[in-house]
Amino acid sequence: MTLAVERLSKRYPVRQRGVFGAREVAEIRAVDDVSFRLHGGECLGLVGESGCGKTTTARAILHLITPTAGRVLFEGTDIVPVLGGADRDAALKVRRGIQYVFQDPYLSLNPRWSIGQTLLEPFRVHAHAPQPEWEDRVADLLELVGLEATHAGRFPHEFSGGQRQRVGIARALAVEPRILICDEPVSSLDVSIRAQILNLLVSLQDRLGLTYLFISHDLASVRFISDRVAVMYLGRIVELAPVEALFDHPHHHYTHALLQAIPVPDPTAKAAPVLRGELPSAMERPSGCRFRTRCPAATDRCAAEEPALTDMGDGRVVACHYPR
């Protein structure tokens, strides 16, 4: 096991200004008590709709957002205090192990830096290789992600979205991490380019023995790349299972509804029944089970009692009183 996330939470207080200053009236639990393990060499997909907390979870792991509570164990040590602490060298060491690939390849590259400058930056920060080697290493990185060494002199605007995402991946790989957290890495790409990047991620995983946390709302990409999949709803994991089991036999009603809602590229497919209602606002979290306001199987018990994540034995955990 490489990474263990234990009871990770991120809460945002909601303040209201009054005569006597601001007071806290509510809190938004963007990530609420999330636990999962990431095994070495696997790809764990993290799916859910917007606002479910999947990106917040990923960012909290790397301390890009300070978590409110919880532990993140990387090779046995809790990295939350390390990344939030004053010891820069210790924090850098952790960051060498876990890197982040951002969603938007247009916003995550400095437009005024050449690709070479962007890729040299990790070497400057981490100084993990002797300086004379840097240029060669950058050239190797570019070739590793399917670009050419000569691209180092070019600027982001000269590249297409798919090529920029390749640069984003190369930048993350510069420090030879063991874990890549990929936050919607293919969501802004066209279909024909998406397949190229997904194939690249798979081949890099095989060649470099990488472990992925793959965050996406695109369930088709997740099915292709993941070994296991966790489904989030309103800040909580509602189901986590091996990919085939989850897609073929979802146990949580939300997972089922999510899978049913994907339009199938087959004109003869019957339209599935549609999940009613919208995601409740993060401030008005339903009592008990968070999904009960939209769940076809909800009873009074679901309003009274929040279901805990229960081990179903086959590598699956589900938080539901009445699993399918």
């Binding site: 709709e49 292709f224 590229p265 497919a269 549609v274």
Partner: protein, 334 residues
């Protein structure tokens, strides 16, 4: 043969830039029958949006429509005076845009901006217009219409805003709705709701629709016929079942194969078939067949001959030299 509601023939759109004129949309043909939904599918830069807004003559500069015929209900729209187009837009042909957040006016209430349409097109009084708007909001599944009328766009969720935009498009009971990626910014469960709604309303109002999308799943769910676009040209047009079951054009085939699917297992194979290379820019499309640099079947002739559409079987039109299309010298254009 019945006469189509909309018939676009040989549509050409050119980009006029400082460096010269490039032909972005090159001889695009499509038609929409009454009550029919045509899916216009393609990746970014395929010209699907440009072709659809061309129907309303709303092509943004530096692009300009430079050729072709757009016949709507028997009238050539390209020769109509601007005032006649203004009377048509929103009344007989309406649009649903991709981003409902940007296409609603942030400083007007929902009621005010929707009622305005009826006051303008149908010369209704404000009160009567408000009543019609409320009725339409209920039809698009908004239960508390009276409250929503007084709200501003920022107070509504994305799904709700898209429902409002659909209501806005249907206010004047148009003959044709152009829906440009109407669900692309929505979550998958909300997308399913909006697609169901569009389906329902199209039947109810007997509206024809052009659905512009990059999502093969969405188009399979919604369209009767599909035109696949690539780099400003249509590769293939056929009924929806044929496009998915027996596609002829190499691009259509490759597109369908390269798409990961949620309904199939990838345990056995860990590699997706890909279309090599990158999507060309509309401002600088390749010569000859525009797909030739990425086509697995390309041969030398594809580099300089533009394939003209040919009917491979009744209703199935394909533009590919390898499928029997006659080749046209590319230099004839522009």
């Amino acid at each position: 043969m019945t006469i189509d509601l909309l018939d676009v023939r040989g549509l050409a759109v050119d980009f006029f830039t400082r460096t010269g004129v490039t032909r972005a949309i090159d001889g695009v043909d499509f038609s929409v029958g009454r009550r029919e939904t045509l899916g216009l599918v393609g990746e970014s830069g395929s010209g699907k949006t440009l072709s659809s807004v061309a129907v309303l003559r709303l092509v943004p500069p530096p692009a300009r429509i430079t050729g072709g015929r757009i016949t709507f209900d028997g009238v050539d729209l390209l020769t109509r005076p601007p005032i006649a187009m203004a009377a048509l837009r929103g009344r007989r042909i309406a649009m649903v845009f991709q981003n409902p957040g940007y296409s609603l006016n942030p400083i007007l209430t929902i009621g005010a901006q929707l009622a305005e349409i009826l006051v303008w097109h149908e010369k209704l009084s404000r009160a009567a217009a408000m009543e019609r708007v409320a009725e339409m909001l209920r039809l698009v599944g908004i239960t508390d219409a009276a409250v929503r009328l007084r709200q501003f766009p920022h107070e509504l969720s994305g799904g709700m805003k898209q429902r409002i935009c659909i209501a806005r498009a249907l206010l004047c009971r148009p003959d044709l709705v152009l829906a440009d990626e109407p669900t692309t910014n929505l979550d998958v469960t909300i997308q399913a709701q909006i697609l169901e709604l569009l389906h329902e309303l199209k039947d109810r109002f007997a509206t024809s629709m052009i659905l512009v999308t990059h999502d093969m799943g969405v188009v399979a769910r919604m369209a009767d016929r599909i035109s696949v676009m690539y780099a400003g040209a249509i590769c293939e047009t056929a009924d929806a079942a044929t496009i998915f079951r027996a596609p002829l054009h190499p691009y259509t085939r490759a597109l369908l194969q390269s798409m990961p699917r949620a309904d199939r297992s990838y345990r056995a194979e860990r590699v997706l078939p890909v279309i090599p290379g990158r999507i060309p820019s509309l401002a600088d499309p390749p010569g000859g067949c525009r797909f030739h640099p990425r086509c697995p079947e390309a041969e030398p002739a594809c580099r300089h001959l533009r394939p003209a559409p040919v009917e491979a079987s009744p209703g199935h039109v394909v533009s590919c030299l390898k499928r029997g299309s006659p080749g046209v010298e590319a230099n004839a254009a522009a």
